[in-house]
Symmetry: C2
Subunit: 549 residues, 2 copies
């Protein structure tokens, strides 16, 4: 595979000079010059309609970007992923999250390395467990049905699951309540346990290694709470584990049939379609989760089979590279105009930033280019009343993803229309802005004139030319959510390949973990290890604060 640094590829160089020619063009002008622009720069796949015409691109930009994808071997890396090659090179592992939603029983990725039997077995077990919980036939230690499920996991074992439960669970009432605990801060667990009953609460401990410090501390405290409430050790029966470390889960006390598997070829942040999603199946039903898998699989096929030019993850990934490396955009905003998707930005923050927040290439060579931007965002309607001021009139170029449902989940015409109108209007305003002449006319229309108008005018001008892409879908169904998840996974993969980074390792989380272990020991033992002056002074200050009665 290619080992050439991305910025030495001919297409990269061509994009640099192309950028210098078109960077100052205003999208208003591009729309005025081309009546076909909206049609030209839109795509449909898996019930998602993507309008990417409000981006600072021309037809030539896209041609060059597709050429970059070819030169960076996006197609070959894609094949390698689907073939189960060890594309996670630093750990010698495959990245086979696409297998998790592969349907049927044909071997996948191929007969020599067929992971489907274990995938299908895990799905069956997810169904048994979630069906029993939803039917009220799974009982706690005293014989009462389980009514609450508390999921304990952090990072990749948490963010996607909570996002999907929020996105889908409003449809289902009268089922076990699902709550999440992630942080080791005792306030998180204490809050989550409030109102729960040891007789009717089931815990899911989600940790690939079953050794994540935060998760194991929370699991131990939860077990203690259960013991205190039940007067006995009720772990077997009221704890489920999702892990690749069977032995540790068993040692913790989880019954063998309550251990669900994940595998070394599924990274935590890519595990939303694995058994890690048990809380999603509990909250929304296994049928809904299977629909989610079908949506993800449809997008997997689209990504795998569609030429680059019509390939939605490819187009979005290339636009990401375009803004990051040619416009030097340091961030990208994700703006769901769909309240159930409000945790999507936090989910994508991990998916993208943990995958591509790196400075060395797969082979270890230093990359001299910018890689992953900061991904951030919030519920779009809320964000309008918060940080949109900066998007409209700030000094930063921030490409935005708008996610928009044509129909809301609750069929409330006044609310639905207002929400939708706001999404379209904000994207329109960000693109077009409002020039001084038009602003002046408007202010005059409001009766302003003379020095008052002159003083007000510059504050009310909008430069526009702020790019966005809009993903429109009829309604947020499980299938749509699955397609969105896979779209963002593959979008990120395309970007990573263009940058030359391995999207599937995360060595950058290790150093902090190691140092933390040392400080925990120091806090317990009273000694002080070797630290910089700041850390030593903070430790000393903590001791002083804690010694106050």
């Amino acid at each position: 595979m290619t080992t050439r640094a991305p910025n030495h590829l001919p297409a990269w160089q061509a994009l640099l000079s192309h950028h210098s020619r078109i960077a100052s063009l205003h999208m208003r002008r591009l729309f005025a010059d081309d009546a076909e622009r909206a049609r030209r720069f839109s795509l449909e796949a898996c019930d998602l309609f993507l309008d990417y015409s409000k981006n600072r691109i021309t037809a030539q930009t896209m041609e060059l970007l597709f050429e970059l994808a070819r030169q960076a071997d996006v197609e070959a890396w894609r094949e390698r992923m689907y073939a189960g090659d060890a594309i996670n090179t630093s750990e010698g592992r495959a990245a086979l999250h696409v297998a998790l939603r592969h349907p049927g029983d044909a071997p996948f990725p191929h007969a020599d390395r067929d992971v489907m039997p274990q995938v299908l077995a895990a799905r069956r077990r997810m169904r048994e467990i979630s069906d029993a919980l939803r039917a009220g036939t799974r009982l706690g230690h005293s014989g009462k049905p389980i009514t609450s499920v508390l999921h304990i996991g952090i990072g990749g074992s948490h963010l996607g699951m909570e996002m999907a439960v929020q996105a889908l669970a409003a449809r289902e009432a009268g089922r076990p309540a699902v709550r999440f605990v992630s942080s080791v801060d005792a306030a998180n667990l204490a809050g989550a346990l409030q109102g729960l009953d040891a007789e009717t609460t089931l815990f899911i401990v989600a940790s690939k290694t079953f050794s994540t410090a935060e998760t194991m501390l929370n699991a131990a405290s939860a077990a203690q709470w259960l013991r205190a409430g039940s007067g006995r050790d009720a772990i077997a029966g009221q704890f489920i584990a999702v892990t690749a470390n069977d032995d540790a889960a068993r040692a913790f006390g989880v019954a063998a049939e309550d251990i669900l598997p994940v595998w070394d070829w599924v990274g935590g942040r890519y595990s939303l379609t694995s058994a890690m999603a048990l809380p999603v199946a509990v909250a929304a039903g296994m049928d809904a989760f299977e629909e989610l898998l079908a949506g993800a699989h449809a997008m997997d096929r689209h990504f795998h089979e569609t030429p680059l030019e019509q390939n939605m993850p490819v187009v979005l990934g290339l636009l990401g590279v375009w803004y990051r490396n040619f416009f030097a955009a340091a961030t990208r905003a994700v703006l769901p105009y769909d309240y159930p998707l409000r945790a999507l930005p936090a989910y994508l923050q991990q998916l993208e930033m943990e995958s591509a927040g790196k400075s060395v290439a797969r082979d270890g060579d230093a990359l001299g280019i910018a890689t992953c931007p900061v991904v951030w965002g919030a519920s779009g309607n809320d964000a309008q009343h918060s940080f949109f001021q900066l998007l409209h009139q700030g000094s930063e170029l921030v490409p935005c993803d708008f996610l928009v449902a044509a129909r809301g989940a609750h069929a409330s015409p006044g609310h639905d229309d207002t929400l939708l109108a706001n999404a379209l209007a904000q994207a329109e305003a960000l693109m077009g802005g409002r020039e001084a002449a038009e602003t002046r006319a408007r202010l005059e229309g409001q009766g302003l004139g003379g020095p008052a108008l002159k003083a007000r005018l510059p504050h009310c001008v909008f430069a526009g030319n702020q790019p966005s892409s809009t993903l429109l879908y009829e309604r947020l169904t499980p299938r749509t959510l699955g397609a969105l998840v896979a779209l963002y996974e593959h979008r990120l993969f395309v970007q990573s390949v263009c940058w030359g980074v391995n999207a599937f390792d995360q060595w950058g989380v290790e150093l902090g973990k190691e140092l933390a272990q040392g400080i925990v020991a120091e806090l317990a033992g009273g000694g002080v290890g070797s630290h910089d002056g700041s850390t030593a002074a903070l430790l000393e200050r903590v001791r002083r604060m804690r010694s106050k009665s």
Copy 2:
């Protein structure tokens, strides 16, 4: 006051050349060279300990930054704020949020324009209402005590209140449950109403103008729900309004004694210490809210009275300018290692980005400099398992704020120590990194050698030199929270003054609002107005999706 563009100030120019000299220095070296560095770059005020020694600064950097503050007239603008001058120039208004926590009955800001009688009257009414709700003596239409409070507001009428309720309310059980609705998405209101009873639910409608589209739609739907559940119009008695528009609240049906005031000299994003915080008083008690006010006032005094060099908001604001304008950092991360503060990043996102996300100076001149960065973040412990990979090994300089409590709210030694250790360790790792030689030794210690070591090594090196500031406090009390809120308000003010922008207007939210009104009408009426090709195509596509049966 000064009208000189900030980048034409002599100190700005001096900082530019100073930056070019020190930008490549590593903080490891700065600590090694100066045993006093941690002491030199730390401050204490209002029970907050600020360690800012892990920033890419020298003594000279700080001297030049303080000089910049002087040349930008930070001290004079501060005086003008406290004097009640119309420093919100584009709207001709004062910005007197400091009056909201002014104690006692001495006139403030001065005898000619004393706002204290109305401030104190509002506080008294907050106490009456919140005391009655907490005591269970406020009754719904059928005579049962109110047990749930649903707060309806968006942006500045929401983010701070929910943040503070989360931060403080865990202390108080058996009081009315407080929930929030902000988005116009019907899913938000429907979710919040789940399980509530029309007989025992009280609504707070928070909107300065009482005309915010989203809030008024949600209020109307809530009133409809209340009517459906009670069989009559129960708005009077079960709706409270917080607004500057009495007439509109009365017209909506709110009883006169249930209308709490805000004033034109309090911006929405600065209103957390106003009557807008009624839900905080309900959830945590008015005594706790008065403690919060006392903490904010203590920080107000610190900001007002302390020389620049020892002034915490000034130091933090100047560091913000340093990274934004000299290191070109496009973002800043806020990382509370204190789960109850998890909504702080969203609150600060609005506070800072809506205040300073601007490109023109107070007088309307175009600013040729970068202004507000993107402010983002999450619960620190969660973020370690999410986006910290990028902070440690990505390509972006991201200054971080760590917020750390020496004691957790729940006295859980294992949890507390782990949380605290992680905070200190992450800041230590971000600063120091781990060089290749040390990494090699460590990997060898793990038994790695030869090509395997060579392949792994570059992925496990940490460049470090990622700056952070740590705010340490004994425990998150209402007083500490108040001090933090005021600290961030004034920090932002200092930055705004350095950039020359008016931190108290928000003209950039208007255009989208106007365009949305037009599209709402089009969606209702079926016509299509004048739009760019993209917006027109999206509208057309929405119609098609909606017309499917």
